[in-house]
């Protein structure tokens, strides 16, 4: 049993500025006892990667509503793979069509939470993933 709080980075990649979902999930996760860092808007994958490294997070949650989730996830997963950060749990939330979920999972995204997912679902998923590690 560890007392160290789970650290989560909530990130907003790309040009889209709709951050209601990202902020709401960040607040929900903080309420659930996680340590949450929110990147703010208009982040490049490189910036998100650097923040994840500096903040030594366990989980990276990307919030994407623009439709560009596949290329963004591919870029981040490739970057993580080539470093010692490949143990990070990567989650994606936002406007994600059902049909894209298998492709996201195939490249190593562990959890996908389309708009409307419940806080409990996300929290439980992170706890299970961390327990399995």
């Amino acid at each position: 049993m560890t007392t160290k709080a789970i650290r989560i980075l909530i990130a907003k990649p790309g040009l889209d500025g709709h951050d209601r979902g990202a902020k709401v999930v960040a607040l929900a996760l903080r309420n659930a006892g996680f340590e949450v860092i929110y990147t703010g808007l208009h982040q490049t994958v490189e910036q998100i990667f650097d923040t994840a490294l500096q903040e030594d997070v366990d989980v990276i949650g990307l919030s994407i509503l623009s439709g560009a989730h596949l290329p963004i996830a591919e870029k981040l997963m490739a970057k993580l793979k080539h470093t010692d950060m490949n143990d990070k749990i990567v989650l994606i939330g936002g406007n994600i069509p059902e049909r894209d979920i298998p492709s996201l999972k195939a490249i190593g995204v562990l959890g996908v939470f389309p708009t409307g997912s419940s806080f409990d679902e996300i929290t439980a998923f992170i706890q299970t993933c961390m327990a399995d590690k």
Binding site: H18, D19, R20, L27, A28, G40, A68, S118
Partner: protein
Amino acid sequence: MSSKIRDVVLESGIQVKPVYNPEDVDPKNEIGQPGEFPFTRGIHPYMYRQRPFTMRQYAGFGAPHETNQRFKFLIENGQNALNVAFDLPTQMGLDSSDPLAEGEVGRVGMAVDTLADMEVAFTGIPLDQISVSLTINAVAAPIMAMYFVVAEKQGIPLAEVRGTAQNDILKEYIGRGAWIFPVEPAVRLIGDTIEFCASHAPKYYPVSVCGYHIRESGANPVQEIAYAYAIAKEYIKRGLGRGLGVDDFAGQISFNLDIFGNFFEQIAKFRAARRLWARIIRDEFGAKNPNTMMMKMIAGGGGGGLTIEQPENNIVRGAYYALISALSGTQTMALCSYDEAYTIPTEKAALISLRTMQMLIEEMGVGDTVDPLAGSYYVESLTNEIEARIVTEMKRVEDEWGGIVKAVSEGIVQGEVAHQAFAYEKGIQDGSIPKVGVNRYRMEEEKRDVALHTYNPDQAEDAIRRTAEVIARRDSSAVKAALEKVRAAAGSDQNLMPSLMEAVRAYATLGEITGVMKDVFGKFPEPVNL
């Protein structure tokens, strides 16, 4: 057998009584006559009896020629005003060829790199007759410059050009997030556009202050109006700072407000907002012209109220939103499409929205008499209560947060709205806020997959090629000289609009122009305040 009377508390925190009576309406708070101060009942004496509300639908497709076709379709179908959506790179001042634009060109709206794109989009659209609304903020000044130059090329004098630019940067920092520059220079740009329009394009509405996005980001109806008014007051102060009189320009600042939530709370919100604005403009700014005191608004049936579950229910929600809007005395209505919770509105869905508004006026007789709810004990009581609460919230912005510019720069409003959004979402998830089809009367239904703006890489290639051709044809020394003038104006207290018009006339790209402004202004350091 008696059952318990339900407690009802509105989003604004108002406790609703089961019955309202004459004594619930404070007689000191007069509503006046329609078309007269304080305009509670509407800004025109005969409202829709004389002219139905303007019906405006959002349109904008990746390529300028497609946007042009959709505009022509809408005009043929009886629409008299157009809203233009721009893609994200354009909203962020990036050219289609910019590496940061990759994957986004033409995705959520029209891609504009140069004046040539705007010329194509508005071919055959007379800009002195059709009122075009440009949904653009951080780079509103250069896009307005393009619009004015297109009008000039159509042979329309600037003094006759109609239209609206959203051009409300302060709300971008609160919701929607399409900001580039730090708050101070961004607000200065708005001052430049206000000053320019007041002197050269008096029929143009240079700013549309958006409570809409503030509400969609999580604010309650009282906060929506309070923050929008704090923002609008700031822009007015900037105009006054240019030596303009309040009556010279403040009447051309309009509002874009949201509709969803409790039916009567929404109606009261609009009536209260109109009366309060008239009081602010007359009593705080000393306006003399009644036109300046009129709060002009476009009310939009908010996407925030729609559900992906049982989406046909959204047609009914849309009709209620339109009814709220009509009973509130709005001048312009933009109704959401029932399918927009999961896809880009189809032509059919957009047409149903348009027909919904037409039915209200032409079949239902909703516009036959002005402000039909006036005198209702409940509506008048709510109107008074909401107005009082907006005043209190505005005082909080001023006294506790040090004004809207400081509150936005430091992320205070953003934090406030985010917490409100969180509370709302929790309420939806635990069922304490009822939502039919979501946490009430949920049904097993075919899973509806969200469809997104598809990305067509050809469109990006086309845009890049078009701009390359424009660049090859233009006089590069003229572009260079014009951009240096933009730089000089940005670094001084000169109005930027004349140099921006010169730059777009020379076919400088939006990315080049924004780049010069970024050199001078820098970038907004986003405060993350959760």
